[in-house]
Symmetry: C2
Subunit: 199 residues, 2 copies
Protein backbone atom coordinates (compact mmCIF):
# COMPACT_ATOMS: atom_id res chain seq x y z
CA UNK A 1 0.00 0.00 0.00
CA UNK A 2 1.27 3.43 -0.88
CA UNK A 3 0.46 5.85 1.89
CA UNK A 4 -2.06 8.52 0.82
CA UNK A 5 -0.26 11.72 -0.22
CA UNK A 6 -1.54 13.89 2.68
CA UNK A 7 -0.13 11.34 5.13
CA UNK A 8 3.19 11.08 3.28
CA UNK A 9 3.51 14.87 3.36
CA UNK A 10 2.82 15.32 7.07
CA UNK A 11 5.24 12.46 7.91
CA UNK A 12 7.90 14.16 5.78
CA UNK A 13 7.30 17.57 7.40
CA UNK A 14 7.43 16.16 10.94
CA UNK A 15 10.54 14.17 10.05
CA UNK A 16 12.32 17.47 9.31
CA UNK A 17 11.98 18.53 12.95
CA UNK A 18 14.83 17.87 15.38
CA UNK A 19 14.54 14.62 17.42
CA UNK A 20 11.71 13.34 15.21
CA UNK A 21 12.66 10.24 13.21
CA UNK A 22 10.62 8.64 10.46
CA UNK A 23 8.87 6.19 12.82
CA UNK A 24 8.01 8.88 15.36
CA UNK A 25 6.72 11.10 12.54
CA UNK A 26 4.42 8.27 11.43
CA UNK A 27 3.24 7.64 15.00
CA UNK A 28 2.47 11.35 15.51
CA UNK A 29 0.63 11.60 12.18
CA UNK A 30 -1.57 8.56 12.88
CA UNK A 31 -2.21 9.87 16.40
CA UNK A 32 -3.41 13.21 15.02
CA UNK A 33 -5.52 11.46 12.40
CA UNK A 34 -7.17 9.16 14.94
CA UNK A 35 -7.97 11.88 17.42
CA UNK A 36 -10.59 14.47 16.70
CA UNK A 37 -9.71 17.53 14.64
CA UNK A 38 -9.57 19.79 17.71
CA UNK A 39 -5.98 18.80 18.45
CA UNK A 40 -4.85 19.53 14.88
CA UNK A 41 -6.63 22.89 15.06
CA UNK A 42 -4.96 23.98 18.27
CA UNK A 43 -1.58 22.84 16.93
CA UNK A 44 -2.11 24.92 13.78
CA UNK A 45 -3.14 27.94 15.88
CA UNK A 46 -0.04 27.55 18.08
CA UNK A 47 2.23 27.35 15.02
CA UNK A 48 0.63 30.44 13.49
CA UNK A 49 1.08 32.38 16.72
CA UNK A 50 4.71 31.23 16.95
CA UNK A 51 5.29 32.66 13.48
CA UNK A 52 3.32 35.86 13.85
CA UNK A 53 3.66 36.94 17.47
CA UNK A 54 7.28 36.13 18.27
CA UNK A 55 10.41 37.84 17.07
CA UNK A 56 13.97 38.37 18.31
CA UNK A 57 15.17 41.05 20.72
CA UNK A 58 17.06 43.76 18.84
CA UNK A 59 19.49 44.05 21.76
CA UNK A 60 20.39 40.50 22.84
CA UNK A 61 18.66 38.32 20.18
CA UNK A 62 16.55 36.48 22.74
CA UNK A 63 12.94 35.64 21.86
CA UNK A 64 10.72 38.69 22.23
CA UNK A 65 7.14 39.82 21.83
CA UNK A 66 7.86 43.19 20.25
CA UNK A 67 11.26 44.87 19.82
CA UNK A 68 12.92 44.09 23.16
CA UNK A 69 12.82 40.86 25.18
CA UNK A 70 11.47 40.54 28.69
CA UNK A 71 14.97 40.46 30.18
CA UNK A 72 16.30 43.58 28.41
CA UNK A 73 13.08 45.45 29.32
CA UNK A 74 13.22 44.44 33.00
CA UNK A 75 14.55 47.41 35.08
CA UNK A 76 15.49 45.04 37.93
CA UNK A 77 18.18 43.23 35.93
CA UNK A 78 21.82 44.09 36.62
CA UNK A 79 22.91 45.89 33.44
CA UNK A 80 26.60 45.66 34.36
CA UNK A 81 26.71 41.88 33.86
CA UNK A 82 26.60 40.29 30.41
CA UNK A 83 26.36 36.55 29.88
CA UNK A 84 27.32 35.30 26.42
CA UNK A 85 25.54 32.10 25.33
CA UNK A 86 25.25 30.09 22.15
CA UNK A 87 21.51 29.75 21.90
CA UNK A 88 18.11 30.80 23.27
CA UNK A 89 17.77 27.38 24.92
CA UNK A 90 20.85 28.25 27.04
CA UNK A 91 19.12 31.43 28.26
CA UNK A 92 16.10 29.35 29.26
CA UNK A 93 18.37 26.86 31.07
CA UNK A 94 20.30 29.57 32.98
CA UNK A 95 17.13 31.53 33.83
CA UNK A 96 15.65 28.38 35.32
CA UNK A 97 18.44 28.37 37.96
CA UNK A 98 17.56 31.90 39.25
CA UNK A 99 21.31 32.39 39.91
CA UNK A 100 21.95 35.08 37.32
CA UNK A 101 20.35 38.50 37.19
CA UNK A 102 22.29 40.22 34.42
CA UNK A 103 21.75 40.53 30.68
CA UNK A 104 22.45 38.05 27.89
CA UNK A 105 24.00 38.05 24.46
CA UNK A 106 22.98 35.21 22.18
CA UNK A 107 25.63 34.35 19.59
CA UNK A 108 23.36 32.10 17.54
CA UNK A 109 26.09 29.47 17.20
CA UNK A 110 29.74 28.80 17.95
CA UNK A 111 32.81 28.90 15.71
CA UNK A 112 32.91 25.65 13.80
CA UNK A 113 34.85 25.40 10.53
CA UNK A 114 33.30 21.98 9.85
CA UNK A 115 29.73 23.22 9.87
CA UNK A 116 30.71 26.47 8.15
CA UNK A 117 30.22 28.75 11.18
CA UNK A 118 32.78 31.53 10.91
CA UNK A 119 33.24 34.76 12.87
CA UNK A 120 30.81 36.56 10.55
CA UNK A 121 28.02 34.01 10.85
CA UNK A 122 27.71 34.29 14.63
CA UNK A 123 26.98 37.56 16.46
CA UNK A 124 30.48 38.46 17.67
CA UNK A 125 30.51 41.86 15.96
CA UNK A 126 27.16 42.68 17.57
CA UNK A 127 28.70 41.68 20.91
CA UNK A 128 31.71 43.97 20.43
CA UNK A 129 29.41 46.84 19.46
CA UNK A 130 27.27 46.33 22.55
CA UNK A 131 30.33 46.24 24.78
CA UNK A 132 31.77 49.41 23.30
CA UNK A 133 28.46 51.26 23.78
CA UNK A 134 27.40 50.09 27.24
CA UNK A 135 29.42 49.93 30.46
CA UNK A 136 29.64 46.30 31.44
CA UNK A 137 31.67 45.30 34.52
CA UNK A 138 31.93 41.63 33.68
CA UNK A 139 31.41 39.43 30.65
CA UNK A 140 30.55 35.82 31.54
CA UNK A 141 31.24 33.32 28.79
CA UNK A 142 28.70 30.50 29.16
CA UNK A 143 29.38 28.38 26.09
CA UNK A 144 29.33 24.59 26.11
CA UNK A 145 32.56 23.05 27.46
CA UNK A 146 33.35 21.24 24.20
CA UNK A 147 36.01 21.96 21.57
CA UNK A 148 33.91 24.42 19.60
CA UNK A 149 32.63 26.21 22.70
CA UNK A 150 36.16 26.51 24.10
CA UNK A 151 37.54 27.81 20.79
CA UNK A 152 34.79 30.41 20.61
CA UNK A 153 35.38 31.44 24.25
CA UNK A 154 39.11 31.89 23.60
CA UNK A 155 38.42 33.88 20.43
CA UNK A 156 35.96 36.18 22.18
CA UNK A 157 38.30 36.65 25.17
CA UNK A 158 41.05 37.71 22.75
CA UNK A 159 38.75 40.18 20.97
CA UNK A 160 37.68 41.66 24.31
CA UNK A 161 41.19 42.25 25.60
CA UNK A 162 41.40 45.90 24.43
CA UNK A 163 38.20 46.74 26.36
CA UNK A 164 39.74 46.03 29.75
CA UNK A 165 36.67 44.36 31.26
CA UNK A 166 36.64 41.40 33.62
CA UNK A 167 35.95 38.23 31.64
CA UNK A 168 34.88 34.97 33.28
CA UNK A 169 33.68 31.59 32.11
CA UNK A 170 31.24 29.24 33.83
CA UNK A 171 32.87 26.56 35.99
CA UNK A 172 33.70 23.14 34.65
CA UNK A 173 33.66 20.33 37.19
CA UNK A 174 31.62 17.41 38.41
CA UNK A 175 27.88 17.75 37.83
CA UNK A 176 25.84 18.05 41.04
CA UNK A 177 24.71 14.55 42.02
CA UNK A 178 27.50 13.14 39.83
CA UNK A 179 29.89 10.39 40.72
CA UNK A 180 33.69 10.65 40.75
CA UNK A 181 34.00 6.99 39.77
CA UNK A 182 32.10 7.47 36.53
CA UNK A 183 33.35 10.93 35.56
CA UNK A 184 35.87 11.21 32.73
CA UNK A 185 39.47 12.24 33.39
CA UNK A 186 39.19 15.66 31.77
CA UNK A 187 36.25 16.56 34.03
CA UNK A 188 37.92 15.30 37.21
CA UNK A 189 41.17 17.06 36.26
CA UNK A 190 39.29 20.31 35.69
CA UNK A 191 37.39 19.87 38.96
CA UNK A 192 40.68 19.48 40.86
CA UNK A 193 42.29 22.49 39.16
CA UNK A 194 39.24 24.68 39.73
CA UNK A 195 38.72 23.59 43.35
CA UNK A 196 37.18 26.18 45.66
CA UNK A 197 38.33 26.91 49.21
CA UNK A 198 35.67 26.07 51.78
CA UNK A 199 37.42 27.28 54.93
CA UNK B 1 12.40 34.64 32.62
CA UNK B 2 8.87 33.52 31.88
CA UNK B 3 8.65 32.16 28.38
CA UNK B 4 6.49 34.34 26.09
CA UNK B 5 2.94 32.94 25.87
CA UNK B 6 3.10 31.93 22.18
CA UNK B 7 6.18 29.83 22.94
CA UNK B 8 4.60 28.29 26.05
CA UNK B 9 1.55 27.33 24.00
CA UNK B 10 3.41 25.67 21.13
CA UNK B 11 5.60 23.73 23.61
CA UNK B 12 2.46 22.53 25.39
CA UNK B 13 0.78 21.51 22.13
CA UNK B 14 3.84 19.60 20.88
CA UNK B 15 4.23 17.97 24.29
CA UNK B 16 0.77 16.40 23.83
CA UNK B 17 2.03 14.39 20.84
CA UNK B 18 3.27 10.83 21.34
CA UNK B 19 7.06 10.44 21.83
CA UNK B 20 7.50 14.20 22.32
CA UNK B 21 8.65 15.14 25.83
CA UNK B 22 8.87 18.63 27.26
CA UNK B 23 12.53 19.10 26.27
CA UNK B 24 11.99 17.85 22.73
CA UNK B 25 8.94 20.11 22.43
CA UNK B 26 11.09 23.09 23.44
CA UNK B 27 13.85 22.09 21.00
CA UNK B 28 11.35 21.76 18.13
CA UNK B 29 9.72 25.11 18.97
CA UNK B 30 13.03 26.99 19.06
CA UNK B 31 14.09 25.26 15.85
CA UNK B 32 10.93 26.44 14.09
CA UNK B 33 11.36 29.93 15.50
CA UNK B 34 14.99 30.20 14.38
CA UNK B 35 14.34 28.94 10.88
CA UNK B 36 12.47 31.00 8.36
CA UNK B 37 8.69 30.96 8.34
CA UNK B 38 8.55 28.69 5.28
CA UNK B 39 8.94 25.56 7.38
CA UNK B 40 6.12 26.60 9.74
CA UNK B 41 3.93 27.33 6.73
CA UNK B 42 4.47 23.96 5.10
CA UNK B 43 3.88 22.21 8.43
CA UNK B 44 0.58 24.09 8.83
CA UNK B 45 -0.44 23.18 5.27
CA UNK B 46 0.40 19.51 5.90
CA UNK B 47 -1.66 19.50 9.10
CA UNK B 48 -4.61 21.12 7.36
CA UNK B 49 -4.48 18.57 4.55
CA UNK B 50 -4.25 15.72 7.10
CA UNK B 51 -7.45 17.01 8.67
CA UNK B 52 -9.37 17.83 5.52
CA UNK B 53 -8.28 15.29 2.92
CA UNK B 54 -8.03 12.08 4.92
CA UNK B 55 -10.76 9.96 6.40
CA UNK B 56 -11.30 6.32 7.33
CA UNK B 57 -12.39 3.53 5.00
CA UNK B 58 -16.05 2.63 5.61
CA UNK B 59 -15.22 -1.05 5.03
CA UNK B 60 -11.98 -1.79 6.92
CA UNK B 61 -11.31 1.49 8.83
CA UNK B 62 -7.94 2.01 7.18
CA UNK B 63 -6.93 5.57 6.19
CA UNK B 64 -8.65 6.62 2.99
CA UNK B 65 -8.97 9.52 0.59
CA UNK B 66 -12.71 9.27 0.01
CA UNK B 67 -15.05 6.52 1.17
CA UNK B 68 -12.96 3.40 0.53
CA UNK B 69 -9.25 2.86 1.12
CA UNK B 70 -6.73 1.97 -1.56
CA UNK B 71 -6.65 -1.66 -0.47
CA UNK B 72 -10.42 -2.22 -0.46
CA UNK B 73 -10.66 -0.50 -3.88
CA UNK B 74 -7.86 -2.56 -5.44
CA UNK B 75 -9.37 -5.32 -7.65
CA UNK B 76 -6.11 -7.31 -7.50
CA UNK B 77 -6.41 -8.02 -3.76
CA UNK B 78 -7.56 -11.45 -2.64
CA UNK B 79 -11.01 -10.80 -1.17
CA UNK B 80 -11.17 -14.25 0.44
CA UNK B 81 -8.44 -13.42 2.99
CA UNK B 82 -9.07 -11.08 5.92
CA UNK B 83 -6.32 -9.95 8.25
CA UNK B 84 -7.45 -8.55 11.60
CA UNK B 85 -5.08 -5.95 13.10
CA UNK B 86 -5.14 -3.55 16.02
CA UNK B 87 -4.16 -0.35 14.29
CA UNK B 88 -3.44 1.41 10.99
CA UNK B 89 0.26 1.30 11.77
CA UNK B 90 0.04 -2.52 11.70
CA UNK B 91 -1.44 -2.36 8.19
CA UNK B 92 1.48 -0.18 7.11
CA UNK B 93 3.95 -2.62 8.71
CA UNK B 94 2.40 -5.71 7.07
CA UNK B 95 2.03 -4.01 3.68
CA UNK B 96 5.72 -3.15 3.76
CA UNK B 97 6.54 -6.89 3.73
CA UNK B 98 4.63 -7.52 0.43
CA UNK B 99 3.76 -10.98 1.81
CA UNK B 100 0.01 -10.45 2.20
CA UNK B 101 -2.43 -9.66 -0.59
CA UNK B 102 -5.79 -9.93 1.17
CA UNK B 103 -7.97 -7.40 2.94
CA UNK B 104 -7.71 -5.94 6.45
CA UNK B 105 -9.97 -5.21 9.35
CA UNK B 106 -8.71 -2.60 11.81
CA UNK B 107 -10.08 -3.09 15.31
CA UNK B 108 -8.87 0.26 16.60
CA UNK B 109 -7.61 -1.29 19.83
CA UNK B 110 -7.48 -4.54 21.76
CA UNK B 111 -9.52 -5.72 24.74
CA UNK B 112 -8.00 -4.15 27.83
CA UNK B 113 -10.06 -3.80 31.00
CA UNK B 114 -7.34 -1.60 32.53
CA UNK B 115 -7.51 1.06 29.82
CA UNK B 116 -11.27 0.71 29.54
CA UNK B 117 -11.32 -1.01 26.15
CA UNK B 118 -14.26 -3.38 26.11
CA UNK B 119 -15.88 -5.40 23.32
CA UNK B 120 -18.03 -2.43 22.36
CA UNK B 121 -15.19 0.07 22.09
CA UNK B 122 -13.25 -1.90 19.48
CA UNK B 123 -14.68 -2.92 16.11
CA UNK B 124 -15.56 -6.57 16.78
CA UNK B 125 -19.23 -6.17 15.86
CA UNK B 126 -18.22 -4.56 12.58
CA UNK B 127 -15.91 -7.55 11.99
CA UNK B 128 -18.72 -10.05 12.61
CA UNK B 129 -21.02 -8.12 10.29
CA UNK B 130 -18.39 -8.11 7.53
CA UNK B 131 -17.80 -11.82 7.93
CA UNK B 132 -21.49 -12.66 7.79
CA UNK B 133 -21.96 -10.58 4.61
CA UNK B 134 -18.87 -11.56 2.60
CA UNK B 135 -17.40 -15.00 1.89
CA UNK B 136 -14.00 -15.13 3.50
CA UNK B 137 -12.00 -18.35 3.34
CA UNK B 138 -9.56 -17.46 6.11
CA UNK B 139 -9.36 -14.94 8.91
CA UNK B 140 -5.79 -14.16 9.97
CA UNK B 141 -5.45 -12.70 13.46
CA UNK B 142 -2.41 -10.42 13.46
CA UNK B 143 -2.57 -8.86 16.91
CA UNK B 144 0.50 -8.19 19.06
CA UNK B 145 1.72 -11.31 20.89
CA UNK B 146 1.17 -9.77 24.35
CA UNK B 147 -1.47 -10.51 26.98
CA UNK B 148 -4.04 -8.10 25.59
CA UNK B 149 -3.46 -9.13 21.98
CA UNK B 150 -3.75 -12.83 22.92
CA UNK B 151 -6.93 -12.25 24.93
CA UNK B 152 -8.48 -10.37 22.02
CA UNK B 153 -7.43 -13.12 19.57
CA UNK B 154 -9.01 -15.80 21.75
CA UNK B 155 -12.19 -13.75 22.15
CA UNK B 156 -12.50 -13.18 18.39
CA UNK B 157 -11.77 -16.84 17.63
CA UNK B 158 -14.58 -17.84 19.98
CA UNK B 159 -17.01 -15.38 18.36
CA UNK B 160 -16.09 -16.69 14.90
CA UNK B 161 -16.66 -20.35 15.72
CA UNK B 162 -20.29 -20.44 14.43
CA UNK B 163 -19.16 -19.12 11.03
CA UNK B 164 -17.06 -22.21 10.23
CA UNK B 165 -14.19 -20.31 8.61
CA UNK B 166 -10.51 -21.16 8.88
CA UNK B 167 -8.90 -18.94 11.52
CA UNK B 168 -5.15 -18.50 11.82
CA UNK B 169 -2.81 -16.30 13.82
CA UNK B 170 0.57 -14.94 12.78
CA UNK B 171 3.55 -17.04 13.91
CA UNK B 172 5.34 -16.39 17.16
CA UNK B 173 9.00 -17.35 17.23
CA UNK B 174 12.49 -15.95 17.05
CA UNK B 175 12.76 -12.67 15.15
CA UNK B 176 14.78 -12.93 11.92
CA UNK B 177 18.38 -12.01 12.74
CA UNK B 178 17.62 -12.77 16.39
CA UNK B 179 19.77 -14.76 18.76
CA UNK B 180 18.69 -17.88 20.69
CA UNK B 181 21.00 -16.96 23.55
CA UNK B 182 19.28 -13.65 24.20
CA UNK B 183 15.68 -14.65 23.48
CA UNK B 184 13.31 -15.11 26.42
CA UNK B 185 12.01 -18.54 27.39
CA UNK B 186 8.43 -17.94 26.25
CA UNK B 187 9.66 -17.03 22.75
CA UNK B 188 12.03 -19.99 22.48
CA UNK B 189 9.33 -22.33 23.83
CA UNK B 190 6.85 -21.04 21.26
CA UNK B 191 9.46 -21.33 18.49
CA UNK B 192 10.06 -24.99 19.39
CA UNK B 193 6.34 -25.80 19.57
CA UNK B 194 5.60 -24.04 16.27
CA UNK B 195 8.59 -25.54 14.45
CA UNK B 196 8.13 -26.03 10.69
CA UNK B 197 9.23 -29.12 8.77
CA UNK B 198 11.92 -28.33 6.23
CA UNK B 199 12.30 -31.75 4.62
Amino acid sequence: MNLPAPLEIIIEELNKLPSVGKKTAQRISLHLLRNNDAQIDSLIRALQSLKEDLSFCSECFNIAVGDKCEICKNPKRDVSLLCVVEDISDVIAIERTHEFNGLYHILGGVLSPLSGKSVDSIRINELLQRISKKEFKEIILALNPDTEGETTSLYIAKQLKPYNIKISRIARGLPVGGNLEFADEATIGRAVLSRTIIQ
